[in-house]
Amino acid sequence: MNKYAGDWELVEKARTGDERAFAAIVRKFEPMVANVVKGMLGNVAEADDVGQEVFIRFYHSLDRYRGDAALRTYLTRIAINLSLNELKKKKRVVSLFTQKQEEAGYSDLSDEGRDAEKRDTREVVEAALLKLEEGFRSVVVLRLIEGYSTKETAEILNLPMGTVLSRLSRAQKQLKEILMNEKIFKP
């Protein structure tokens, strides 16, 4: 039996107006959407709205969903596109925010003599991820966090596989550099 049969059944039920089926879809894919949206936008208030918008958009396109792509992939595509739109919208605000963080010494914690080992590594990794360019970040989120294959990542982002691989390689180098500055990685 197709492993996505359950998803398809839920979609079919949701199409007929079964709200419980749609709520089940939301619950099932909420963690994945959170990873994509928050991986792209950071843990900001807008991320919740964008996450909701992903499912609202999907609800409105239920009739158009033919099942050619797995539901997870379909929702990921919506989540990535909405996150990129949000980033475009908020670009100025985000850059101001980052500037303020930097002014407050957030990115140069070593200057304050804080012990990197005591810091929450996860928090630093998340912050480092946000410092990557959007194109690199999306590849890292899909390939390394969400575990999509290179081919799937290329399809979701509408990029050639070669581009995905080279972005991934460059993103890793950038991330390593950022994390070395934060003393998470040793040179």
């Binding site: 963690p31 843990n43 909701q52 990794v125 390394l144 966090i145 070669g162 080279s166 890793q172 390593k176």
Partner: protein
């Protein structure tokens, strides 16, 4: 796919799935390249760090989505009702205006001709069904 991309893809695949014996052998060969070996090390470290990374929405996320959907549905209903209401309101206005125009027209015909017969309403003397079409087509009978 270019050679470097193939090497990378095989390297990434080795972290995602079990490689076939042929693929393993090929990867071992590829890893003799120090640049790829360094990339393997970076990838291992990065996956270790990012593997623990996960986010979640605040509690009650699915309820918020369903609530938003139901609000949207309600709003759509209200807009539809408003549109229907607007249509009927517009229709009523046009109907009242049309009735008023017809009434004024009939009154003025009655006041000038003293009757509301077919002939006076149509403005045709000696009306008959046979030549009505000709009258309407402005055919000149005087010749």
């Amino acid at each position: 796919m270019k050679e470097q991309e193939m090497k990378r893809e095989l390297l990434y695949a080795s972290f995602d799935r079990d490689l076939s014996p042929e693929e393993k052998k090929l990867l071992e060969e590829y890893l003799k390249d120090p640049a790829l070996k360094a990339e393997e090390e970076e990838l291992r470290e990065m996956r270790g760090l990012l593997g623990e990374t996960s986010w979640h929405f605040d509690e009650g996320f699915s309820s918020r989505v369903m609530q938003r959907l139901s609000e949207e549905k309600e709003q759509t209903k209200v807009v539809e009702m408003e549109n229907t209401g607007q249509f009927f309101s517009l229709f009523r206005k046009i109907a009242v205006a049309s009735i008023a125009v017809i009434a004024v027209l009939l009154i003025s015909i009655y006041m000038t001709s003293g009757s509301l017969s077919k002939e006076t309403v149509l403005g045709v003397d000696n009306y008959s069904e046979d030549n009505l079409v000709s009258y309407l087509l402005y055919e000149d009978f005087s010749e």
